[in-house]
Homo-oligomer: 386 residues x 2
């Protein structure tokens, strides 16, 4: 009657509910079983839908176990799997199969059909060096099989223990299912996030391509804006604010989206713009904000688009905001935008070197640009990260 | 020793792990408690982070209970909450507070500090007509308090029952936390989905706006494509394939994205296009596919963009595909696109009526257009849904 590990295993099973990484969860439960039940090893064969087979995870006790090569994964037609899927066997061995019991049953003689299946299954169990197998069903589907190694004190698994493991197996099945559902959701979320970012990148690049003079501008400004923000967070030893970076990322990708509303003749004019043309050109941040305004989920990203041409001294557009009136997200994009404009060729304006551009930004610190952001840019330059 | 409901409540608690809707979960556990423990009512005060207060959910037994007005939600400074957050009380009443025991403790006399808190708490408990309260902690935070009404057989809650409810409360706390995490994830996923769709709609509309003759074209084609697809699914009594509809939705929104690569002079030319201009104009599906090609997550949506100008008889572009060679998603958009082009004014081509357009589509069935899709469109017309 050595079932004194019951409470501890039950507690572990209960706390499993909040472990949402299926692999971690499986290892955790196997390790606990090996330690508490004091067995040589414990394993689980877990159904994998995509591969339509059962994957083996083993936790070794102090004794160790060599899993036969090729058994890290077994098919649905493996005797052991067929055994626990078989309706008759399910009824006979619903709380699991203890090797010795099954063996003596076989020795006593059983009906022919049962005999062959049982023999094959026992051979399979021998390969895993298991002394007991406990199936784990979820909604009548066999989602896994626990494999239990020998007890270190050489005692045998009794009926009560088999019952206990059977109940445990169903809890574990539910916890694993819960973790899998969680993981699927997280991966779907990640996919949607990627879809959004990649689509935004592709469309921003397409709009970029309309402006013959700014090839690759959007992706450079985006990358530089993110580096500046990281530097600022690092300097202020603030917690890296993921939300801010995500908003900045999106805002930088979309900052010139309003150019879609600027006639190509103005956008690609090879000479100096007239005053009227300049006015139209300067509408692009406001046009961009109008295009994006219906997207409530964009949050602060919208501010980055709308105000990236504001200047620290109030000389910018569209609203002539000053200093702290300018959203920080917009000020960062503004500096990155200016730096990229200086260091790439534009109509009637050759590019200057990075060193010269950094000097210009330094001179405009506290005038056109926010000093904190200029300082971050200068630091990046000295670190060779511009 | 009336704790014969233990097994049933434990089983309910275990199966809770896969209930991922917090409200359903809470109602389920309360209902089970009322039924199995046979009490007049059971309630739970559950912490709500956003509102920084505890929200009451009550399950009524046959006797019924009027909750005092204003107590559907209580603040963190409510005596009952303060009681179970108080370190001293936590130690003294860690497995819950049985009203009568606390009352007799009070009558016997306790230290002044304890006295006032306890008195206030008991008054609060009286208002809920509870005979016992069991706190539920998660990671040392008070996430909820169970309120238990009188037993119908008028017996009292004993120590063993209090212990049992205390353990149950911690399981429930974990299950609720699990469900809340799930719900948060689902809502985040939904938000990302909306963000993507809304951004695509906004950008598609902006690109639409470049083409002066097709105002609102994209949104009309999208809506019509989805209606056609739903009709097709309905006719074939197929399972409504959510993935297909999602891909179609995105493809329809982006079908003319390639127009961003067409010079405005051609796009907005008020007269018949020259052959060369037509050739450039006809590049838009391929240009669109090129823009979107890096977005691997788009899947079949890309096919809809690339092939929406292919024709059933092979007379379309860019590849002159025929019949089943044309992806179904593209054929649907093609018909919706053609219908919208006919029923709206274009340069040098006035619109025709819906009835006339339907006739034209009918005549082109099996020639330019896939007969199944034409049939769906015609049905929509007769239902007044065009």
């Amino acid at each position: 009657m050595g079932i004194n590990y019951k409470k501890e295993l039950e507690d572990t099973a209960k706390s499993m509910i909040l472990v949402h990484e299926p692999d971690t969860l499986i290892k955790m439960i196997l390790r606990t079983i090996v330690q508490k039940v004091k067995i040589t090893h414990a394993g689980i064969l877990l159904y994998n839908k995509e591969k339509n087979s059962y994957i083996l995870t083993i936790s070794r006790g102090p004794v160790g176990l060599k899993v036969p090569a090729g058994f890290a994964r077994i098919g649905v037609d493996n005797p052991l799997i067929r055994f626990f899927k078989n309706q008759k066997m399910k009824t006979l061995f619903k709380n699991g199969l203890v090797y010795e019991e099954a063996k003596s049953l076989l020795d006593k003689g059983v009906e022919p059909e049962l005999k062959e299946t049982l023999e094959q299954t026992l051979r399979q169990i021998e390969m895993f060096e298991a002394v007991a197998c406990v199936p784990s069903y979820f909604m009548k589907e066999l989602i896994g099989i626990f494999l239990l190694g020998k007890k270190q004190d050489e005692t045998k698994f009794d009926k009560e223990e088999a019952d206990f493991f059977s109940a445990l197996a169903s809890d574990v099945a539910m916890a694993i299912r819960n973790a899998q559902l969680f993981k699927e959701l997280v991966s779907e979320l990640d996919k949607k996030r990627q879809l959004f970012i990649h689509t935004t990148i592709a469309l921003a690049a397409a709009i970029d391509a309309k402006d013959h003079y700014t090839h690759g501008h959007t992706s450079r400004v985006t990358s530089l804006s993110l580096r500046i923000a990281e530097k600022l967070f690092q300097k202020e030893k603030k917690q890296n604010d993921e939300n801010f970076l995500e908003h900045l990322h999106i805002a930088a990708l979309l900052h010139d989206i309003g150019k879609i509303g600027i006639p190509e003749l103005i956008l690609n004019k090879g000479s100096q713009l007239t005053d009227d043309e300049t006015k139209i050109m300067q509408e692009h941040p406001a046009v961009g904000a109008n295009i994006l305004a219906p997207i409530s989920e964009l949050g602060d990203s919208l501010l980055g688009v709308k105000y990236h041409h504001e200047k620290y001294d109030g000389s910018g557009y569209p609203e002539g905001l000053k200093k702290n009136q300018i959203p920080f997200i917009a000020s960062i994009i503004g500096v990155a935008d200016a730096f990229d404009a200086m260091t790439t060729d534009r109509p009637y304006k050759k590019h200057i070197s990075k060193a010269e551009a950094v000097d210009e930004i330094k001179n405009s610190s506290g005038k056109q640009f926010d000093p904190a952001i200029c300082a971050a840019l200068i630091e990046l330059y000295h670190e060779g990260r511009l």
